[in-house]
Symmetry: C2
Subunit: 428 residues, 2 copies
Amino acid sequence: MEIKNIKGLNSLLKKIKDNTLKLGELSSEYKNRLLSGLADALSKNKSFIIRENQRDILIAKRLGLSSAFIDRLTLTERRIEQMKGSLLNLINLADPIGEVIKEWSVPSGLIIKKVRVPLGVILIIYESRPDVTSDCIGLCIKSSNAVILKGGSESLNSNLAIFRVFLETLKKLSFPSYAINFVSTKERKVLDKLLRYNEYIDLVIPRGGESLIRKITQLSRIPVIKHYKGICHIYVDEYADIEMARKVCANAKVQRPATCNAMESMLVHQSIAKEFLVPMLKEFLEAKVKIRGCAQTLKIAKDYGLFNKEFFKKATDKDYRTEYLDLILSVKVVKDMQEAIEHINEYGSHHSDAIITKDNEHAEEFLKRVDSACVYHNASTRFTDGYQFGMGAEIGISTDRLHARGPMALEELTTYKYVVKGSGQIRT
Amino acid sequence: MEIKNIKGLNSLLKKIKDNTLKLGELSSEYKNRLLSGLADALSKNKSFIIRENQRDILIAKRLGLSSAFIDRLTLTERRIEQMKGSLLNLINLADPIGEVIKEWSVPSGLIIKKVRVPLGVILIIYESRPDVTSDCIGLCIKSSNAVILKGGSESLNSNLAIFRVFLETLKKLSFPSYAINFVSTKERKVLDKLLRYNEYIDLVIPRGGESLIRKITQLSRIPVIKHYKGICHIYVDEYADIEMARKVCANAKVQRPATCNAMESMLVHQSIAKEFLVPMLKEFLEAKVKIRGCAQTLKIAKDYGLFNKEFFKKATDKDYRTEYLDLILSVKVVKDMQEAIEHINEYGSHHSDAIITKDNEHAEEFLKRVDSACVYHNASTRFTDGYQFGMGAEIGISTDRLHARGPMALEELTTYKYVVKGSGQIRT
């Protein structure tokens, strides 16, 4: 349903919640038919969606929003093809609902099954990217959850275009319209109101900037799963393959610096600092990466004629806690792996951190002791992503510890129930 | 540590949190040695603990607290033996930490492992039962979590006795004392304060009456897992084995009516109402169970000379939403299973509900459509319990949908991390 105003919100949410029980009973075949219908609808309505998107872009340009913002907002034919691909990909993934997670019997003779069931009603609050609308509807259909979408006002026309195309398609396929919902009212109070309905909404996933997420976490009486930021580290160990380290660090910083899994801080073992940093810093300079370095990093830059005031600054304590989301990197030379692990656990955001080393014992210790959602040995932190993990489009990434950690997709949108079969057992 | 006053709480909690990283590295053998040490310590200090418990009982009697309350508070030799058994039982259960939940590889060549790790710091808030102190410390040691215990003031001497005996024992075995913590200060603000530390505490589990749990849920900025109440149903189907139904319903109501998994509401198919209810109501009357019946139930009672004003009342809508925790039962004759399922989903508390039937299709539909943490076919709801499920002592029961549902024990006190191994992979 389109939520056009605040009035009647309570009874609408109750209907959405009551309707969820039906969703768990839908067959995998039917859900896949819905997804394929949505993919077709994207193709057929491509020009309508792009036209509506152009209206948002025009307004954004008039408002003087940043080019990065406008890039995230823009729907090209290629992006719509990606959205379509994401829906079709869900068809190939296993249906999580009904999966028997475990089964066992107990001395009383009872047989206990732990069975995967839908979570219920998911509220997604997001900022500029309209492709989130399509991804989240697809994920919620496949996992038999109801979804309520609340997108940013800057992408309202784009989101509404996608939502309306989807709703119409789903109705034709007899899908209950209470299962997909979009908040189109501009009343500011609607978010505060929604976040109080812990009776009818089971989970909130906010996606966007840290301040939006903090605000939602403060306001919400519904459980929230989130990540505030991604301060990801790569630690280049004394036993690193230097060539590999350079390739991985360049990728993790430069390939898409505005993503939460990009490297923000590079830690280098002192014994290989010169050998690794001289070519690495050169490469970063060529890629226009600004360096916030520790004293040793700056000394090496100076000693080898790489230093210039525009690109090098002394790193402050605050730098090590900053998610730049840009071509800026903090660099620290560390005494040993111990210091690297402690630094990551103290300054990081428990998102994604990597070690580059040929020493397996070092790798094992690092992977065990770094307390992050995703820990890597000899790979770029940029792989923390639903697709890259083979889970399909992600509904979010969590640095929380409860319920879900790391990329969240179909399984993370489920809970379980215990189904117990007996033959008249009683407690004695 | 014993938390004796509010001052310094911030830095103490930070220490507790920082210390958790070490706990994940403890070996199973060492953790089992700790548990066995605690079991021994209970035996050796039995008379000290019972003496301290007697002080609490004396105060409780002076305050005129109910006999049910005093029963929950009382530690007998037998109860201490049970606490000991519970600790020893944990030794035999598998260590959840380090378990590889899943392992797979992706087209990029990365190998991804989903590995079980501790949750971190668990805050348990509980009322009168001092055995919770022992159970929760045992569960948190085995699952490598730090615990902060906040028991009711009425059981302070008993809890402190157990805690001090445990802390001393653990210190002798070189266990870090920041891992087990007990709040002994009587300052009222301490709870409000603790519940704000979402930075250092990962999960709150409140155990006790509904009003305590609601207060904590309101105040807490830390995720809370809980159940407010257990309004458990048994539905006696038209195809029930009547003998079995009587046995199971009697057990679920009478054996321990003050537990959250006791039956509070009995639903009976109209076509077997007379045949089942006449002997069943007789049995309940003999057991002094008061009946809140629907019109048909009361009519049957009257027709068969069972009715008397002391034991029979007309059920109100409120009755069907009430957790009596006593020898009181609401009874409703329903038209069909459909009505029973809808009644349970609307009036129940999503805790534990059962169907008694010989018809497997009916059973399957009931088990699927009743939206509760535990659903039973031909067994008493009284089995919803960590021990009965083979999980060991439970740390709580959840009717929430996020993270854990139903009895919570070792596995539910864990989260996971993704451990990813590569050979220099980068994102392209």
